[in-house]
């Protein structure tokens, strides 16, 4: 299809959490999205200002499930300000102790050590650590609608990821690639006359059992009573109408199973 958005995003510096696991960052391409998210760069840096004489934590990237919490990051205007990101594509980070990300990590996609200070002397470097192999610049690493990616610190002991001295940042470059859709449309009538001002609710779901159903949009019909929308190819659409004229409420038989 076509790339509809390219952007970059960064977390603020996040302190460690004194625990053996810490979810730093997540990308969610939620159900309802009209795009595939191709991750083009995912990098981590850290500065540890306390000594650590045991081995350092590992930072792991995985496809995750059950993501909740965290703070939503501002996606900005992207590489080309005329493009806009799909609203169902969201980025989360931990911001302070009050907004941890809860998630179930999946199989490790890629992982990195970062650095540690065996003793607190001399220069410290906070070099880029690739959380996804660099070849994704040219080779798609894809998050389809309903898929997520998680960046997680895994430490052998909580003392290896101290809250007072480890400072983490994550940044990401991604592009959004439009998925194909099909058109649906109709005309709302009452006693054979077109109805303006009717509300048409368009639902989209994985299948006819309405698995993962979402309210795609609410359309207010114009003068001709017409409405039009799109449904992702491979999914099922449904449309339902309600209309209020004065104190009288109307509804109409739905239009389910639009494939």
């Amino acid at each position: 299809m076509a790339v509809t958005f390219q952007g970059s995003i960064q977390t603020v510096a996040m302190l460690g959490n004194d625990a053996t696991a810490q979810n730093l960052f997540a990308i969610q391409n939620s159900i309802g999205s009209r795009v595939d998210v191709n991750v083009r760069r995912l990098a981590l840096q850290m500065d540890a200002i306390g000594a650590l004489t045991t081995f350092m934590p590992i930072v792991r990237t995985s496809r995750a499930t059950a993501i909740t919490g965290g703070a939503r990051l501002d996606k900005g205007k992207g590489f080309t300000s005329t493009q806009s990101s799909d609203a169902f594509v969201t980025f989360l980070s931990q911001i302070g102790e009050t907004s941890p990300i809860a998630a179930t990590p999946g199989d490790t996609i890629w992982q990195q050590y970062c650095n540690r200070m065996h003793s607190t002397v001399e220069q410290q470097q906070g070099t880029d650590q690739n959380l996804i192999p660099l070849l994704v610049v040219n080779q798609d690493f894809k998050l389809q609608p309903g898929e997520s990616l998680l960046v997680r610190v895994v430490a052998a002991a909580g003392t290896s990821n101290p809250a007072s001295t480890n400072n983490w940042i994550v940044q990401c470059v991604w592009e959004e690639d439009a998925r194909s859709t099909f058109n649906i449309s109709g005309t709302v009538t009452l006693s054979a006359a077109p109805v303006a001002g009717a509300r048409v609710m368009v639902l989209e779901a994985d299948d006819e059992l309405m698995t993962n159903a979402i309210l795609r949009e609410v359309i207010i019909t114009g003068a001709g009573g017409t409405w039009a929308s799109t449904i992702l190819t491979g999914k099922v659409g449904a449309a339902f109408v309600q209309y209020k004229a004065g104190a009288t409420y109307y509804t109409a038989p739905g239009s389910p199973f639009l494939e």
Partner: protein, 177 residues
């Protein structure tokens, strides 16, 4: 099915021996090919080593590996499923767990890397990517045909150069046709 896939070992501790098999990837499919696209090793060493550091060496194993822990595969695109006949093995089933292989015999060395050591235990310790295969395999096919395997092995001059205070992991990206 065609596509890109990845796998990563758990953290593996040094085995105090002169050789240690970290990762193998094998192709036992009669018709499908496997292309290695990226293979890196990282390590952290928490103890001083004043002797020469171990090398990590990549070679075609002389037979199909056995043992170890079969690693889960990451998918670059969930529309693509990896061939079950592509098998990646590590040495442990958990971070820092007991080493259990994989069993494989090294062939002629394809690529090798020094990694790092602490001559004295002071200052910052970095753990950069160490390419266990040359980076150009990203675009130049390195092919595993049926019953061919790649072995990533630590080779130390002495067992004392690969102590349990060494912490390794290896990870690989490959393509299936």
């Amino acid at each position: 099915m065609a596509g890109y896939f990845s796998a990563a070992t758990f953290r593996q501790i040094g085995n105090a021996a002169t050789t240690q098999n970290l990762l193998t990837i094998e192709n036992i499919d009669a018709t499908k090919l496997v292309y290695i696209r990226r293979l890196v090793v990282q390590m952290d060493a928490t103890a001083v080593l004043t002797a020469v550091m171990p090398l990590v060496k990549a070679s075609r194993a002389t037979g199909v590996p056995t043992g170890g822990t079969t690693l889960s595969k990451g998918l670059f695109d969930t529309s693509n499923a990896s061939n079950a006949n592509t098998i990646v093995r590590g040495s442990t089933a958990s971070d820092g767990g007991a080493n259990s292989g994989p069993t494989a015999t090294a062939g002629t060395v394809l690529w090798q890397q020094f990694m790092m050591r602490l001559h004295t235990a002071v200052g910052q310790v970095l753990a950069p990517d160490n390419n266990a295969m040359p980076a150009l395999v990203d675009t130049q096919n390195f092919v595993l045909r049926q019953n061919e395997a790649l072995l990533i092995q630590i080779v130390a001059a002495a067992g004392t150069s690969n102590p349990a205070t060494n912490h390794y992991f290896a990870e690989v990206v490959w393509e299936e046709d």
